[in-house]
């Protein structure tokens, strides 16, 4: 299960990178970036997951002994939430840029924005 | 010997040198004439020319440097005489050693330029284009002559470990086999060749180059100025010959020997001059950079190894 999640995460990252590098359309690049981000999030969650563990809430079920082996690590989960929020912000700003760029040149092809050379 | 006696001998020596220079100049002309099958000038012609020149009634002046030029020239000649031990008498303060202080070779070498530089300045004030051309050629040729000549002088200085002309002459005493001509043949050969340039006769007479650039630096000079320059020229000719005599041909033990040797040395350049036509400046310069320079290098290499 962990392996699958890891593979999924890395695959998403690579697919995202591929999208960023190969697609000309800015929107598609942003989509690629989102995929990249998502892959990252999957990775984060995977890292903190413990097989068969429960939610990291200290209640009677979990008990007070062996906590660490019974519950899933809470930190990555907190991290992923933050990362998702930040990813959202970045994506939103990128889309805003895409809008501005389209307004400027009536084009969403990234190779049209190569005015500053060398 | 008191300073007055020394002064007297020096003045006497200067008088002899001046007259010998005139006579030598006349002889040169005479030889040239006889070579061409002519009768030639009378031997006393230079004195007449001098007399005529200083008796010219109208003179002009282009300015102060116009005066100074011939003065520099004559001072250069006289000074060269003063700094040169003339006749070897066995003592560095002998009768005919003038004010030479043992005759420093470097001093003589650099003082040769004194008259030339002054002449260049004097002629320049005249504003004549040919003066400037003549001087430009002269300086270029001087630089070219200087290189082999310096090498040869250095070689002689290495040979005897001294720059003193007196000591160099002293070392050559006792028979002609002690002359540098035989003891240091490469330096001697260099000097004998480079001497042609220093003497300024054809084919190296492009400074004056008569009828090409009129008469070079002297174009604007007349009358007394010319007379002074003629005198200076005579003295300088003798002194050049004396220098080479002291350096290569064993110096002189008496005035007679001096006169014979300087005449022969002078005759060498006259002889070459009679045979070869004038060089262009670049030919002259490159000529000195060929054989004389090579000989000069050899002369140094032999003594530096």
């Amino acid at each position: 299960m962990e392996i699958i999640a890891l593979i999924t995460g890395f695959s998403l990252i690579l697919i995202g990178l591929y999208g960023i590098l190969s697609k000309r359309n800015i929107i598609k690049i942003i989509v690629g970036f989102s995929l990249f981000d998502t892959g990252l999030h999957v990775l984060i969650v995977t890292v903190g997951y413990i097989k068969g563990g429960t939610a990291p809430i200290l209640d009677s079920v979990v008990g007070t002994t062996d906590v660490a082996s019974k519950i899933v690590d809470p930190v990555p989960q907190a991290l992923v939430l933050t990362a998702i929020v930040i990813g959202l912000g970045v994506t939103a700003l990128m889309l805003a840029y895409a809008l501005k760029m389209y307004q400027a040149k009536k084009s969403l092809d990234i190779s049209d924005f190569k005015d500053m050379k060398w | 010997m008191t300073i007055y006696a020394k002064l007297g001998y020096t003045l006497l020596g200067l008088f002899i040198v001046l007259n010998w220079g005139f006579l030598m100049g006349a002889t040169f002309r005479k030889i040239g004439a006889r070579l061409a099958g002519r009768y030639g000038i009378p031997f006393y012609q230079p004195w007449l020319n001098l007399l005529k020149n200083i008796s010219i009634r109208t003179t002009i002046t282009h300015g102060i440097m116009y005066y100074i030029g011939p003065v520099f020239r004559l001072t250069g000649g006289v000074g060269l005489f003063l700094f040169m031990p003339m006749v070897f008498t066995g003592s560095p303060n002998g009768l005919w050693t003038n004010f030479s202080f043992e005759g420093d070779l470097i001093l003589i070498l650099y003082f040769q330029v004194f008259g030339m530089l002054g002449m260049a300045l004097g002629a320049g004030q005249g504003g004549h284009p040919y003066s400037a051309m003549g001087i430009a050629r002269g300086l270029a040729q001087h630089a070219a002559v200087e290189l082999p000549l310096t090498l040869a002088f250095l070689s002689i200085a290495i040979q005897f470990d001294t720059f003193s002309v007196y000591k160099i002459v002293e070392a050559q005493q006792g028979g002609f086999e002690n002359w540098i001509l035989f003891t240091n043949p490469f330096a001697a050969a260099t000097i004998i060749l480079a001497m042609l340039g220093a003497m300024g006769h054809s084919p190296f007479n492009l400074v004056k180059a008569p009828n090409e650039i009129l008469i070079g630096p002297a174009t604007e000079f007349e009358g007394t100025y010319l007379g002074f320059m003629q005198s200076a020229g005579s003295i300088l000719h003798v002194m050049e010959a004396v220098l080479f005599m002291n350096l290569v041909f064993g110096g002189a033990n008496s005035w007679i020997e001096l006169i014979v040797k300087t005449f022969l040395i002078y005759f060498w350049s006259v002889f070459v001059g009679m045979v070869f036509p004038r060089f262009k400046i670049e030919q002259s310069v490159t000529w000195f950079f060929k054989v004389p320079l090579l000989l000069g290098f050899l002369a140094i290499i032999i003594y530096s190894l």
């Binding site: 990249f36 930040i86 970045v90 840029y97 | 003179t59 002046t61 202080f101 300045l121 284009p129 007394t224």
Partner: protein
């Protein structure tokens, strides 16, 4: 003592940001003020911590969030480093906000909020000790920055911002992966606990640490994966450029500084390598750059690269790391922010367009300050930092690193100085004035002043820096402040100052130093007297002239190598500004500066090598260098030869001296060149003087001197420009001096020193006279002059005596040198060098005659009929110097005897014997004054004779010459002056091909071509930039794994 907790920076910033968001666009004026207040508060907080921690009154403070200790919470640390860095960031924040006032106001409250958030996040990045927190605020910061960019007009800015977003997004992704896995392996996100856990043992943890570090390195825009950064620098508002370069880069660099230990020290070396690649690469590529902001971008990247090198070498540098890094960082921070802000004021895209800055001299001063701070000139902090860096690197045997660093610095100097040259002396004449907003000046001015202040306070922090004598520099500063006064007052002040200073220090100097100090100071005073000839204010002349003299005297006084190098660089800067004042001297000033800097770097390395094995920096360490002595002495000699313009390093001299102002030429020729000679003397003494351990070096130096003499004199012969002729002549004369010193014998040194004094005397006379003549006739070309003896007889006499002295014809003083040289050469056995030297002496006659003939003799030109005699203020120093020449000529023993006694200290063998007035050497004797009297006596007798016999001579005029029956038509066609030595040229032209110049040109061309080809990787395509980043990571990883 309780200080405000740094957490309030975050809290207050966030609170105000929300509050401003509430305000909306309605209250723009008040919202801007609130922003400023918030930034000021941040600054205040940081500064109080700086003072608190700096004075040791308080302990470093840990702030824990949510009451837990790490690793269960996020913690902030406010130590001394953090406080300083945050202070720097916040100061840029305040000043940047002031600078961007109109832009921030126009773009509304939103932009102000974003601005505040940006600085808040930068603060947190610095303070936080939690990796994830750092990541979060890096992202927040980049979002905020992108938000600022997007608010601007212009497609370029927008697309640059998008590329920036994309790139930083990917980089953060990489960072995040690293963070996750390091958490996985160490179970902690706290930097300190990760370092303690020492994760290097596990392979996977190493990869994650690598990913984290490489991401931060990429954030620092490492070469070559930095195209996105360059685009932002180029396109965005200069204020944003300043923030990026000063604040953002500083914060990110500090992050790297914090986290670099998580990989142990395994990655340090690679960080250094990346740093050096960045430093050299981006500085090299900047060579072809013409866009000013992009140029600054390249330079920023280079500087950060340098900082990365320092970080990588922190084990070697030890406790000096902070000092060095801080010196470089602060210089870069102040200078780069200042330059970016300046670019917003000047509003010129192309660096050639910066010529407009000439209209506002004080801005030129600011620009010069920033640029010289960037390339590491004293008294700026970077100078001391670079000095320490090089010393420590050399000390640990990292010579190749020093070479790489200095090469990069050299490239940076090339484009920076060139840029400055365009600004100070561009070719475009019709320049428009530019408008200045007053609020934009304030930050720039503050930063410029800050550079000097910081430099002043940084200097004493090196062990040896305390000894630096700042008194001359105070004087320079005072004169600079008084620059509005007229020449006559400033000149008097300068002269009086120099006299007093000279009077003060001369008792402390030994004989050898006294000679040089006398040349520098007496020569300086005399040449300054000529300055009275100028009218008006002559703005900027006196500070730079005095700066040069301050440097010169510092060299003489130097007790330590640092003082020496300090003085050397001050002198270089001063002389550069002096030279560049000439009308057409821009390219020559540039090449002067580059050769000087190159020489200074050689010197620096040499001094570093001398320091090896010694604890002190005293000048004594030059004696008997033990570490690679041949290389060390060789480098020192090369460094000094760059100033004496030896063949190969001479190409700057003719133009620089020839095009300089009339009274500057003697300063830089007769006086400045002696600084190089002084250095060579020191080096040769260090090489063991009469022991002559390194005779091969001396032998090579001797040949170099001889060939320099020949080449210089030969080139002088074919010059048409009077001042260039003299400049080439200086090259030749310096060749003599070098040859004489290289002989390493008593007579050789005597000759060399005799030449040092002589060259000072006659070259000052000649340059002053010719300079004054040039001022009168308005041209440098000799063929356009002529016959001036009638108009300026006094100048003529000066030149005549000068050239006779120079040519070495007896009886004047030049002959002393020649005589000594002949004897020395015979003694040493260097016959061929000697022959070459004397051949060049023969050549010297040619150009000397030409100088005096074509200028003073021959035909007077029509337009010079009414020119006046040269100014009295020039005549005074000229005739003072002439008196010196005459005394030296008439009584050479007065000079040579003390010199001989002095030299006997190092060369006791083979001294000259003096009997009365006669000098006796092993090979001959020379009675200087008797010879002089004899010659003068016969001269006067002959002169009187001739004057008597031609007393009736008729005075004629210039065309009264025999002209083959014609009359001359014009003076121009009658004056033989142009290409006089054509015949010689035909014979010797192969020797005049400027091979050296061609060689340097070729090298320059190759470097520029490399730069031009390589910089094409920045194709401006966002995807390409992302690919660069990915490739950079892969290649780095492979190299590290492989290495």
């Amino acid at each position: 003592m309780n200080l405000i907790s740094p957490i309030y920076i975050v809290a207050v910033s966030l609170g105000i940001a929300f509050f401003m968001g509430l305000l909306g666009n309605k209250a723009q004026r008040s919202s801007y003020l609130i922003l400023l207040a918030a930034l000021l508060f941040n600054t205040f907080v940081s500064l109080q911590w700086v003072f608190g921690l700096g004075s040791g009154l308080v302990e470093a403070m840990q702030v824990y969030t949510a009451g837990f200790k790490p690793p269960f919470s996020i913690n902030l640390l406010m130590g001394l480093n953090e406080s300083v860095i945050t202070a720097l960031i916040n100061i840029v924040g305040v000043l940047g906000a002031i600078y961007m006032m109109s832009s921030l106001k126009k773009n509304g409250t939103g932009s102000q909020v974003v601005f505040l958030i940006l600085f808040m996040s930068l603060n947190v990045i610095v303070l936080s000790r939690d990796l994830f927190n750092i990541f979060v605020f890096l992202e927040v910061g980049s979002i905020a920055l992108a938000g600022l960019i997007i608010l601007q007009k212009g497609t370029n800015a927008i697309s640059a911002g998008f590329k920036y977003m994309l790139a930083t997004g990917i980089i953060s992704g990489i960072l995040l992966i690293g963070i996750i896995f390091i958490y996985r392996f160490t179970g902690s996100l706290n930097i300190d606990s990760i370092i303690t856990a020492n994760p290097i043992l596990k392979q996977g943890a190493f990869v994650s640490a690598f990913l984290i570090i490489i991401a931060i390195v990429l954030e620092l825009k490492s070469f070559p994966a930095n195209g996105w950064g360059l685009d932002v620098y180029e396109a965005s508002h200069p204020g944003i450029g300043a923030i990026l370069s000063a604040a953002s880069a500083t914060a990110t660099y500090f992050v790297l500084y914090k986290i670099v230990d998580i990989a142990g020290s395994q990655l340090n070396y690679y960080i250094s390598i990346i740093g050096v690649i960045s430093f050299v690469g981006s500085n090299l590529l900047a060579l072809k750059q013409e866009n000013s902001k992009r140029l600054l971008g390249y330079s920023s990247i280079g500087q950060i690269g340098l900082l990365m090198i320092i970080l990588g070498f922190k084990d070697i540098l030890g406790e000096n790391t902070t000092y060095v890094a801080f010196g470089i960082l602060v210089s870069h921070y102040l200078a780069k922010a200042g330059l970016f802000w300046l670019s917003g004021i000047v509003k010129q895209k192309n660096i050639k367009g910066w010529a407009v800055i000439r209209k506002k001299p004080y801005f030129l001063f600011l620009m010069g300050t920033f640029i010289f701070a960037l390339i590491g000139f004293p008294p700026f902090p970077s100078f001391f930092a670079k000095w320490t860096l090089v010393m420590d690197l050399v000390n640990t045997g990292n010579i190749s690193w020093v070479v790489a660093i200095l090469f990069g610095s050299m490239m940076e100097a090339v484009y920076m100085i060139r840029w400055f040259g365009y600004a100070i002396k561009g070719e475009n004449e019709d320049i428009k004035d530019f408008k200045i907003d007053i609020y934009k000046i304030i930050p720039v001015g503050i930063f410029a002043v800050a550079l000097y202040v910081v430099g002043y306070f940084v200097a004493p922090h090196t062990e040896v820096g305390t000894a630096i004598n700042f008194i001359p520099l105070y004087f320079v500063a005072a004169i600079f402040i008084l620059d509005f006064l007229p020449v006559i007052i400033k000149n008097t002040l300068a002269i009086v100052g120099m006299i007093l200073y000279f009077y003060n220090i001369y008792p402390d100097l030994d004989n050898m130093r006294l000679i040089f100090e006398a040349i520098f100071m007496v020569g300086g005073i005399l040449t300054l007297i000529a300055g009275y000839a100028y009218k008006g204010k002559r703005p900027g002349f006196y500070p730079v002239a005095l700066l040069m003299y301050a440097g010169l005297t510092a060299i003489i006084e130097a007790q330590t190598t640092l003082q020496f190098f300090f003085g050397w660089e001050v002198m270089t800067a001063g002389s550069y500004f002096l030279i560049i004042r000439g009308k057409r001297s821009m390219p020559h000033g540039l090449s002067y500066m580059l050769f000087s800097i190159g020489g200074a770097y050689a010197l620096l390395t040499g001094l570093g090598m001398a320091h090896v094995g010694h604890a002190s920096f005293s000048m004594e360490i030059l004696n008997g260098i033990s570490y690679l002595p041949y290389l060390a002495y060789g480098l020192l000699i090369v460094g000094f030869l760059s100033k004496t313009a030896a063949l190969g390093l001479h190409i700057w001299l003719p133009g620089a001296h020839g095009e300089a102002e009339s009274d500057v030429s003697p300063m830089v020729s007769a006086i400045l060149l002696k600084a190089g000679v002084f250095g060579i003397v020191l080096t040769l003494i260090g090489m063991g003087a009469s022991n002559n351990q390194y005779s091969e070096l001396a032998y090579a130096l001797g040949w170099l001197g001889a060939i320099t003499a020949l080449a210089g004199n030969l080139m002088a012969v074919f010059q048409e420009d009077a001042k260039r002729l003299l400049a080439y002549s200086s090259i030749g004369q310096l060749g003599y001096i070098v040859l004489g010193l290289a002989m390493m014998t008593h007579l050789g040194w005597l000759g060399g020193f005799s030449y040092v004094i002589n060259h000072f005397l006659y070259k000052a006379v000649l340059f002053l006279t010719i300079g004054a003549v040039v001022m009168r006739v308005g041209t440098h070309n000799m063929y356009q002059m002529g016959g001036l003896i009638k108009r300026m007889p006094l100048a003529f006499i000066a030149v005549m005596i000068g050239i006779i002295a120079l040519s070495g014809v007896p009886p004047l003083s030049g002959f002393a040198g020649k005589w000594l040289f002949y004897n020395a050469i015979l003694e040493k056995g260097w016959y061929f060098q000697g022959a070459i030297m004397f051949f060049s002496g023969g050549i010297a006659f040619m150009y000397l005659w030409r100088l005096i003939h074509t200028v003073f003799l021959g035909q007077l030109k029509d337009n010079h009929r009414n020119v006046k005699e040269i100014s009295i203020w020039f005549l005074i120093p000229i005739y003072t110097l002439l008196a010196g020449i005459m005394v030296y000529s008439m009584k050479p023993q007065w000079v040579l005897q003390p010199l001989g006694n002095m030299i006997a200290k190092w060369f006791p063998e083979g001294q000259l014997q003096w009997v009365g007035e006669t000098a006796i050497s092993q090979y001959g004797q020379w009675a200087g004054s008797l010879v002089a009297i004899t010659i003068m006596g016969s001269f006067i007798i002959v002169l009187v004779l001739l004057m008597l016999s031609t007393r009736k001579a008729h005075k004629v005029k210039q065309f009264d010459i025999t002209y083959s029956g014609e009359r001359p038509e014009r003076p121009e066609t009658t004056h033989v002056a142009y290409n006089v030595f054509e015949g010689l040229y035909k014979a010797m032209w192969p020797a005049t091909i400027p091979l050296v110049e061609a060689w340097w040109n070729k090298i320059t061309e190759i470097l520029h071509n490399i730069a031009d080809v390589t910089r094409r990787i920045y194709s401006s395509n966002g995807q390409v930039y992302v690919a660069h980043i990915v490739l950079f990571i892969i290649v780095s990883y492979l190299v590290i794994i492989g290495g």
